[in-house]
């Protein structure tokens, strides 16, 4: 099938009137037919004894019938045809490049919003689906500690974790170069799995020449992938690698941050061993309450940080008071109460913790306004603080102290119910009691 439609070409370029004019100059009759015989153009009078083929490479697109002088315009027509063909080829290639640009543009926009490796991998799969045909696809991340390529996301169960260097994926990961294997049965590296595959394309995900993973696509048919498809996959792999690495860095940073916060909280427990485990328990109870209320992930995050750091201010309270075995005098108690404000002071220089300051400062406020440090009432107290207050008290009640044993779960719950509306937010207490009815005593 000719890629150039002769009729379309001649009519588009307004060549027909021009040829007419030339033909009339020569005073010869001219007929142009396409290779399938359709008449494209006819003009002038006279015999048309000679047939001049219009060719493109080996292909004959049509024929011009005319007199001897018509020979003059054949070269011109042939030239125009090959010129058009070149233009068409360029146009096709440009369109392909344009499609690549569109793909990368779409990918770039969506990917920057993701800070989770798995999400990024799923997005990459969605975008590749638009550009490349496959029966299966997977995005793998290299765990440098274990030397294993683990699946971040995949379209089906055909893929499984693989060691660096093993199989085609492992080989690509260690060499750092993309490959097409159009018939896996003839490749000794191939490790068969539960699903059939015949053609494979695998490209590495690289950051500055360091391989962080691979993208695999496969088809059940052989000889499906070409150099062009590999190039397209490699083009997508570049921004994909950056996005995955970005997500990884963010996850690492989050982990470090959280670990540091927890270490900070642990410093208090070292000084006052009676409260060992207290922070962790209060945090667990607070999060359980938060989840039952239906807080969003970001709100739960805030709650977690606030609950871990709620007693950090105790570091400012003198040992003689903090570690005193007996009951505190009024003066001593006044000093102890300051730990709420101290916590706030200690954390306020940290910009990233701005949103949890209220949770730390007000976890001893009372619903009825008779708490400390500021005597806030009801909804004036931030939600994190109201939750932590309950979790904190519950743990205090159920823990053993030097001067008294801990209450049983039932007694502690009774106490919460009794103080509901006065010390504690009644709605939250209700939810806590309802929820803990399902569980036994924790820890």
């Amino acid at each position: 099938m000719s890629t150039i439609n002769l009729k379309r070409l001649l009519s588009k370029k307004k060549l027909i009137p021009l040829i007419k004019n030339i033909a009339s100059l020569y005073k010869e009759g001219v007929t142009i037919r396409a290779s399938d015989g359709t008449l494209i153009f006819e003009a002038g009078e006279g015999a048309r004894p000679v047939e001049y083929p219009l060719t493109l490479g080996d292909e004959t697109l049509g024929v011009v019938c005319g007199g001897e002088k018509t020979a003059e315009i054949i070269d011109l027509l042939n030239y125009i045809i090959s010129s058009e063909y070149e233009k068409k080829t360029l146009a096709k290639e440009t369109l392909d490049k344009y499609k690549e640009i569109t793909l990368l543009s779409d990918l770039g926009e969506r990917i920057t919003a993701c800070l989770n490796k798995r999400q990024v991998a799923e997005l990459i799969i969605e975008e590749i689906r638009k550009a490349i045909k496959f029966d299966g696809i997977s995005v793998m991340y290299l765990n440098r500690d274990t030397g294993m390529l683990q699946i971040l996301a995949s379209s089906n169960q055909a893929y499984f974790s693989i060691a660096l260097g093993a199989g085609i994926a492992g080989s690509v990961a260690s060499k750092g170069k993309g490959e097409i294997v159009n018939d896996v049965s003839s490749d000794p590296r191939f490790i068969p799995g539960p699903n059939p595959m015949s053609s494979i394309m695998c490209v590495p995900l690289k950051i500055n020449d360091r391989v962080i993973g691979v993208i695999n696509v496969h088809s059940v048919l052989p000889h499906v992938y070409s150099a062009k498809s590999l190039k397209l996959l490699a083009t997508i792999a570049a921004p994909a690698a950056i996005a995955i690495e970005n997500a990884r860095l963010y996850e690492d940073m989050r982990e470090t941050f959280l670990a540091t916060i927890q270490t900070l909280a642990a410093t208090i427990e070292k000084r006052d061993t009676y409260t060992t485990g207290h922070t962790e328990r209060v945090s667990d109870y607070s999060l359980a309450i938060g989840k039952s209320i239906g807080l969003t992930d970001s709100q739960l995050d805030k709650l977690k940080l606030a609950s871990i750091l709620h007693d950090i201010g105790k570091i400012g309270v003198k040992d003689t008071i903090l570690l005193k075995k007996g009951k505190l005098t009024d003066e001593e108690f006044a000093e102890m109460k300051k730990h709420a404000e101290y916590g706030h002071e200690i954390l306020s220089p940290i910009a990233q913790l701005k949103e949890i300051l209220d949770g730390v400062k007000f976890h001893h406020e009372r619903y009825d306004g008779k708490g400390y440090p500021d005597g806030l009432k009801g909804d004036e107290i931030s939600m994190e603080a109201r939750i932590i207050a309950i979790a904190d008290s519950y743990d205090a009640m159920t823990s053993d102290r030097p001067y008294r044993k801990g209450l049983t779960t039932e007694k502690a719950k009774e106490e919460l119910a009794r103080c509901s509306g006065t010390q504690f937010d009644p709605e939250i207490v209700e939810i806590f009691l309802k929820n803990s009815a399902h569980k036994g005593r924790q820890g």
Binding site: K92, Y98, T102
Partner: protein
């Protein structure tokens, strides 16, 4: 014979759109191109294409003006206008409604979306 008009001052975009719609030419659709608003209006009056891909940012007469003229002044019927806007430029939806644009698409355009829209409008 169904006709599609492509209006854009950039020759590359005209060529890419033409190439994208090539498959429709085999189905009997005629593709016409215009470099500016004036040329576009003259072709529209003359040939009455059913579908027009109209670039917004053009010198002398921009896409909004052309669309306005066709839909509101000349009140030409049976013509579907797709406005092409550059990514990063907020498409003024109200203005689009005012001048009677039927839909807008951003550049870089999605070749599949262009063909799909053309098929939809021309009923192919």
């Amino acid at each position: 014979m169904p006709q599609i008009l492509i209006v854009d001052d950039e020759p590359l975009i005209r060529m890419l759109l033409e190439q994208t719609l090539e498959e429709l030419e085999d189905e009997g659709v005629e593709i016409i191109t215009a470099e500016n608003g004036e040329e576009a209006l003259s072709i529209i009056r003359d040939k009455n294409p059913q579908l027009v891909f109209l670039d917004i940012m053009m010198p002398k007469m921009n896409g909004f003006e052309v669309c306005n003229k066709v839909k509101n002044e000349l009140k030409i019927e049976g013509i579907y206008i797709v406005m092409l806007t550059a990514k990063g430029q907020e498409f003024d939806i109200d203005k689009g409604k005012c001048v009677g644009a039927d839909i807008y698409m951003t550049k870089p355009f999605d070749p599949d979306a262009i063909v799909a829209k053309a098929r939809e409008v021309l009923g192919l």
